[in-house]
């Protein structure tokens, strides 16, 4: 929580925390950490600490937008597939299978390489990679709900399909998707950082943790350039994972009280 808090602050008001301009050379190049440069300077003499702080602004919102977009795209496709069934369902799910059949980063790499490197394209690539998981989840929820006794009972009462979707299905799917999304933020952060590490994500000079690690890898002796952003990624992902677990645990507890086993 604390980490998230810090990351959030960094995201919103980086200029309060950061000591230097993240984009400009603030001192000599490749200086180890000192009281002036808390985490040293990089190969262009920029303050690593300040860049680290500003980078929170790049990674986390991007990961969130990946997750939200995938959730919307995947959720809609899943509900449509699950509800209409038949050919539409089969087609959509085969496409999802295809996307599932290869590692996220390789597909994302191919997509960004083809579309050109850059933030928007990285996000698009990751959404292309991640929607199927949401679609599958949404679909299975809709399908099992459709066959449940409470939907049957609703149908017996003479309620229309649209009303049933609106009142019985959507709230159910939405809450489960959000739980899943909370867990997926961590994955999205790792993927984004990975793409940026490869030079396919956030473009310089915008500070981003993954590309900062890449800078550090290129300037190997200067361990501080890679270490701190690496740690930042790690801690942020841990924080999101904890948050995701918390959300899921909360829902699970609620569900086990209700007496369902998701």
């Amino acid at each position: 929580m604390t980490i998230l808090g810090v990351a959030l602050t960094a995201m919103l008001i980086p200029n309060l925390i950061a000591t230097f301009d993240p984009l400009a050379a603030s001192g000599p190049r490749l200086r180890p950490p000192s009281s002036e440069f808390l985490m040293g300077t990089d190969q262009l003499g920029r303050d690593v600490f300040s860049r680290l702080v500003y980078a929170a602004r790049a990674t986390v919102p991007l990961a969130l937008s990946v997750v939200v977009a995938s959730m919307l795209v995947g959720g809609i496709i899943g509900v449509v597939a699950g509800y209409f069934g038949g050919v539409v369902d089969a087609m959509l799910m085969r496409i999802a299978d295809m996307v599932f059949a290869f590692p996220a980063i390789i597909l994302a790499m191919a997509v960004t390489a083809a579309l050109g490197a850059g933030v928007t394209n990285a996000v698009i690539a990751l959404v292309i990679v991640s929607w199927p998981a949401y679609a599958r989840l949404g679909r299975s929820l809709v399908m099992s709900a459709r066959n449940s006794d409470y939907v049957k009972a609703s149908r017996l009462l003479g309620r229309s399909n649209l009303t049933i979707i609106r009142t019985d299905l959507i709230p159910l799917v939405a809450s489960q998707l959000v739980v899943f999304a909370a867990i997926e933020v961590a994955t999205a952060i790792l993927l984004l950082a990975g793409l940026s590490f490869l030079g396919l994500g956030v473009q310089p000079p915008t500070p981003e943790w993954g590309s900062m690690v890449a800078d550090g890898f290129a300037n190997f002796d200067s361990w501080w350039i890679a270490l701190f952003p690496g740690l930042a990624i790690f801690l942020t992902v841990v924080a999101w994972n904890l948050l995701g677990d918390e959300v899921r645990g909360h829902i699970d507890r609620r569900d086990s009280q209700i007496g369902i086993n998701p």
């Binding site: 409470y150 009972a153 017996l156 009462l157 003479g158 309620r159 159910l172 809450s175």
Partner: protein, 321 residues
């Protein structure tokens, strides 16, 4: 009164892998308004399958089901208004209530769909329904998980009543309840039939309860009706050996230490039922012809009492004890 519900030679089949399971095999029954028909039988004999078929939720492979003269099938679309007076109480109340919605709003569903009224009136009607099934008003704001099994069962019944039905198919509506709760729900059904003229099919596996409540009783074994007749007749002096076994299998808590009567053999696989009379491998009074001759329902002692047994036919007449 005329029969509101007519079930004729209905067959329900499920496909399990490459096998076909005939869960309901040629059942014919009819029920009048204001009448309670009890259906009993062991687990897996096809009671729920029959119930779902009656309200149109299961496709039927053969036969026909008519409600007020109209076929009950309604496909995938919205259920036609004319069928809506035919309602069902599901076997598992936890599964038949949406666990993410409050009791009150689920009760209102039935009202809105069938007899729309103003907001205030709807809420008043919801409270009245709760009262009918013996629940406090405060339950309208609860979620299903905040209720006990018995309370959930009552909510499910109330939801069914919300659409003001003429006919209710109740699938084991009291099996989850303790003895005293069973009595009060049974009383509710009795009142619905007597005071509102609602026809009811009441499914249970407990012969003793059904005997108290129903006007007539139907006994099922492996998808078939084996006996149907007046409640006193079937409940106290059944003709079919299976009905008799059901009656004798329940040990009495009288302190006598008497053992219940055992029924030989194992319950057969419904996917592969025995030929001839379905009950013959376990029947204590089996005859050689039973294994080969399929039995028909035959009129027995009193009028309207039908039994599917060789001993009721002319071939091997036998008087029951």
């Amino acid at each position: 009164m005329t029969d509101v519900l007519e079930v004729q030679d209905v067959v329900v089949e499920y496909r399990v892998g490459e096998q076909r399971v005939r869960a309901v095999d040629g059942v014919t029954i009819s029920v009048r308004s204001g009448e309670i028909l009890g259906v009993i039988g062991e687990s897996g004999c096809g009671k729920s399958s029959l119930a779902r078929a009656i309200v149109g939720l299961n496709d039927i492979a053969a036969g026909q089901i008519l409600f007020s003269g109209q076929s009950v099938a309604f496909g995938r679309g919205q259920r036609p208004r004319s069928l809506r007076p035919l309602q069902m109480v599901f076997q598992d109340p936890s599964a038949s209530l949406n666990y993410r919605r409050r009791v009150g709003s689920q009760l209102a569903d039935g009202i809105k769909a069938n007899r729309p009224m103003g907001r205030v009136e709807t809420s008043a009607e919801v409270l009245r329904l709760l009262e009918v099934v013996g629940l406090p008003y405060s339950f309208a704001d609860r979620y299903p998980h905040q209720l006990s099994g018995g309370q959930r069962q009552r909510v499910a019944i109330a939801r069914t009543l919300a659409s003001a039905p003429d006919f209710i198919v109740a699938d084991e509506p009291i099996s989850g309840l303790d003895a005293s709760a069973q009595a009060s729900i049974a009383g509710l059904f009795r009142r619905l039939a007597d005071q509102h003229g609602i026809g009811i099919i009441f499914i249970s596996h407990d012969l003793a309860v059904v005997r108290e409540l129903a006007d007539r009783i139907a006994v099922m074994y492996l998808g078939q009706l084996v006996e149907i007749g007046q409640s006193e007749q079937v409940g106290l002096a059944p003709e079919h050996p299976y009905s008799q076994a059901l009656l004798g299998a329940v040990p009495l808590p009288d302190g006598s230490g008497e053992l219940p009567t055992e029924l030989a053999g194992e319950v057969p696989n419904p996917a592969n039922p025995p030929g001839g009379c379905r009950f013959h491998p376990r029947c204590p009074v089996v005859e050689s012809l039973c294994a080969t001759t399929p039995m028909k329902l035959t009129a027995a002692t009193s009028t309207g009492h039908l039994v599917r047994c060789i001993h009721v036919s002319e071939i091997y007449p036998r008087r029951s004890a």
